[in-house]
C-alpha cells in the first residue's frame, strides 16, 4: 500500500507543507517565504518569523491540500521539523502537526531539519549506501558517512562559524542586501582572485573553520577603507568564495580517498551555490564518484524533504508523542 505523508516545515522564514508519496514522490508542495519582510531588517527577525508562520499556517495547509487534491484523512502520517531552527518558528509547525495528528488519528513523526536536507535527494534519485554527505548551510558545515538510512557517522564539522554564516557576514561587511550568500556568489562571478586569504584549517583533519576567514575579510575591508583604498567588491567576493569552497573540496577529497566511498550527497542551503556544484562535480569525476545534489527548489527550506526524511521513520514505526518539544539545536549524530 502507498504511504502518503503530510509534512510541515517552519524552522526559519519559510512556512511550507507537502504531501509526499512513499518518501520519494512529491504530490504537492506549498511554500510561502517571508524573505522580503526580513530583507528590510538585514536578516531574519525571529519574533517576526513566528508571527508570520502563525498567520500563514492554515492558508498553507489549504493550498497544499488543494494542490494534492487530497484530504488529511488520506494521509498515513503527519511529519514535522522539530529541530534545529528558531524555536518560536518551530513551535508553530510542531503545534499544527500535533493537533492534526490528534484530530485525524495519524502517527506523528519528528524530523531533524538537516536530515531533511539530506533526504531531499530521495525526491530525485533514491540514495544508495554507503555515501558521503556534506551539509552546508547557514547553521551547519558537516561531513558525514551514511551506511544506511538514518545511520550516520560524523567525519568532521565546523569548529566555529558555518559556511553560510560566513557568506552572510561577508555580504554584510561589503554592504550587500540579505540574503547575503546568493549575492556574494553573483558578485564573485564577475571578480578575479585578487586577495590572498589564509586557508582556515590546513591540517590533516576533517574539521572546518570559517571564523578566521571571515575575520580576515573584515580586517582587510577595514584596513583598506582606513587607508583610503578602494576595494573591488567583485574581487573580494571571488577571493573569499575561492577559499571558502576550496576548504570543502579539500576535505571531501580526503574523505573520498580515505573511505573509498563512491557517492557524495550535498545538502543544505549552500548547495544551491553553482561554484560549489562545479567544483564538486569535477572532484567526483576525478574519483569516479556519483554526485547527488537536489534541484534548487529542494535545496532551500521546503516541506517535501521533511516528508522524504519521515518515510524511513514511518516504516520503522518511530513515532513521537504529543509531548514532543522543539529544539534550536540538534545533532545528527
Amino acid at each position: 500500500m502507498d504511504t502518503y505523508i503530510l509534512a510541515i516545515e517552519s524552522s526559519c522564514d519559510e512556512t511550507s507543507m507537502a504531501v509526499v508519496k512513499n518518501g520519494s514522490e512529491v504530490i504537492a508542495l506549498s511554500i510561502t517565504t517571508q524573505m522580503d519582510t526580513h530583507a528590510k531588517y538585514g536578516g531574519v527577525v525571529p519574533e517576526i518569523a513566528s508571527r508570520m508562520h502563525t498567520e500563514a499556517i492554515t492558508l498553507v495547509l489549504e493550498d497544499c491540500l488543494e494542490k494534492a487534491q487530497m484530504k488529511i484523512e488520506d494521509m498515513s502520517a503527519i511529519a514535522v521539523t522539530y529541530a534545529p531552527g528558531l524555536t518560536g518558528s518551530l513551535m508553530v509547525g510542531v503545534e499544527a502537526a500535533k493537533i492534526l495528528s490528534l484530530m485525524y488519528h495519524k502517527p506523528l513523526i519528528a524530523v531533524n531539519h538537516l536530515i531533511g536536507h539530506i533526504y531531499a535527494n530521495n525526491l530525485e534519485n533514491k540514495m544508495e549506501f554507503p555515501l558521503l554527505a556534506l551539509i552546508v548551510s547557514g547553521g551547519h558545515t558537516e561531513l558525514l558517512v551514511m551506511e544506511d538510512d538514518y545511520q550516520f557517522k560524523r567525519l568532521g564539522e565546523t569548529m566555529d562559524d558555518a559556511i553560510g554564516e560566513a557568506y552572510d557576514k561577508v555580504a554584510r561587511v561589503i554592504g550587500l542586501p540579505y540574503p547575503g550568500g546568493p549575492n556574494i556568489e553573483k558578485l564573485a562571478q564577475m571578480g578575479e582572485h585578487t586577495y590572498d586569504f589564509p586557508h582556515p584549517v590546513l591540517d590533516d583533519t576533517y574539521h572546518f573553520s570559517y571564523s578566521g576567514l571571515k575575520s580576515a575579510v573584515i580586517n582587510l575591508v577595514h584596513n583598506e577603507t582606513q587607508r583610503g583604498n578602494r576595494i573591488r567588491k567583485e574581487d573580494l567576493a571571488r577571493s573569499f568564495q575561492d577559499v571558502a569552497i576550496d576548504e570543502l573540496v579539500r576535505k571531501v577529497e580526503k574523505a573520498l580517498k580515505e573511505t573509498g566511498i563512491k557517492r557524495l550527497v550535498i545538502a543544505g542551503g549552500v548547495s544551491a551555490n553553482q561554484y560549489l556544484k562545479r567544483e564538486m562535480k569535477e572532484l567526483c569525476e576525478k574519483y569516479e564518484a556519483e554526485l547527488l545534489i537536489p534541484r534548487m527548489l529542494y535545496c532551500t527550506d521546503n516541506a517535501a524533504m521533511i516528508g522524504a526524511a519521515a518515510y524511513p521513520k514511518y516504516l520503522k514505526h518511530e513515532f513521537s508523542s504529543y509531548t514532543l518539544n522543539v529544539s534550536s539545536s540538534a545533532d545528527i549524530v
Binding site: Y41, V45, E47, I48, S50, R51, T54, E55, I57, T58, L59, L61, E62, I72, G88, M91, V92, V94, E95, A96, K98, I99, L100, S101, L102, M103, Y104, S321, Y322, T323, L324, N325, V326
Partner: protein
C-alpha cells in the same frame, strides 16, 4: 453540544469544555510549558469525557495579550481545529474577558513580570482606543484607575460571545501590544 475554550496567553494553560453553555470539565497547567502540554491535555480532556472533535460546535480562543509565544500556541491550535473541522471560532482578548465582570466603564489590567497590559472598555465591554503596556515603574500613575485582575468568569465569557460573529481561522491573529526590539 460542546464548546472548547483555549487560553495560553501567559504561564497558565487552561482548557475548558462547555456543555450546553455550562462549564463541564477543564484542564489547567501552571508551568508555562504550553508547547509540550496543550495537545496532550486536550487529548485527555476530550477522551475522559468521551467527546470527539466532531462533537464540538464552537471554539473560543484567547488571543492575548501576554507572552508572545504562549498566545501563539493556543491561537495556532484553535485555528487548525476550526479550519480542519469547520468549527465556528470566536476570539476574545483576556482583558476584554475580564472587563465582563465589571458593569461599568472600566480600565482593566493584567500583570506580567515587568509591567501591566491595560485596556479601557465601555459599558458594553467594547474596547476604547488601543491596548497598551506600561512598565511597573510607570504603572504608579495608573494604579488608581486600573483594576488589576487575573481570573475571568467563564460563564460570562460564554454568554457574551454567544451572539457574537465567528471569525474565519485564516484571519485570526494574536494581539501582541508590546513592541519588539526591531520596531523600536
Amino acid at each position: 453540544m460542546y464548546t472548547l475554550f483555549i487560553d495560553t496567553h501567559y504561564t497558565k494553560l487552561q482548557l475548558v469544555l462547555f456543555k450546553d453553555g455550562v462549564v463541564f470539565d477543564e484542564r489547567v497547567k501552571e508551568d508555562g510549558m504550553h508547547t509540550q502540554y496543550l495537545v496532550s491535555l486536550l487529548e485527555d480532556l476530550l477522551e475522559q469525557n468521551h467527546v470527539t472533535f466532531d462533537d464540538l460546535s464552537g471554539i473560543i480562543v484567547v488571543n492575548g495579550p501576554g507572552s508572545f509565544t504562549g498566545v501563539r500556541i493556543g491561537v495556532v491550535v484553535a485555528k487548525m481545529i476550526s479550519y480542519c473541522k469547520h468549527i465556528p471560532l470566536k476570539v476574545i482578548s483576556y482583558l476584554q474577558a475580564l472587563s465582563l465582570k465589571y458593569n461599568c466603564e472600566c480600565m482593566v489590567g493584567i500583570k506580567d513580570r515587568n509591567g501591566v497590559f491595560v485596556g479601557q472598555f465601555n459599558q458594553d465591554h467594547e474596547l476604547v482606543g488601543d491596548y497598551f503596556y506600561v512598565s511597573n515603574h510607570d504603572f504608579l500613575k495608573y494604579q488608581d484607575q486600573v483594576i488589576i485582575d487575573e481570573e475571568v468568569n467563564l460563564d460570562m465569557v460564554y454568554d457574551y460571545l454567544k451572539d457574537k460573529k465567528d471569525v474565519h481561522p485564516h484571519f485570526v491573529k494574536p494581539i501582541y501590544v508590546k513592541k519588539i526590539e526591531v520596531d523600536k
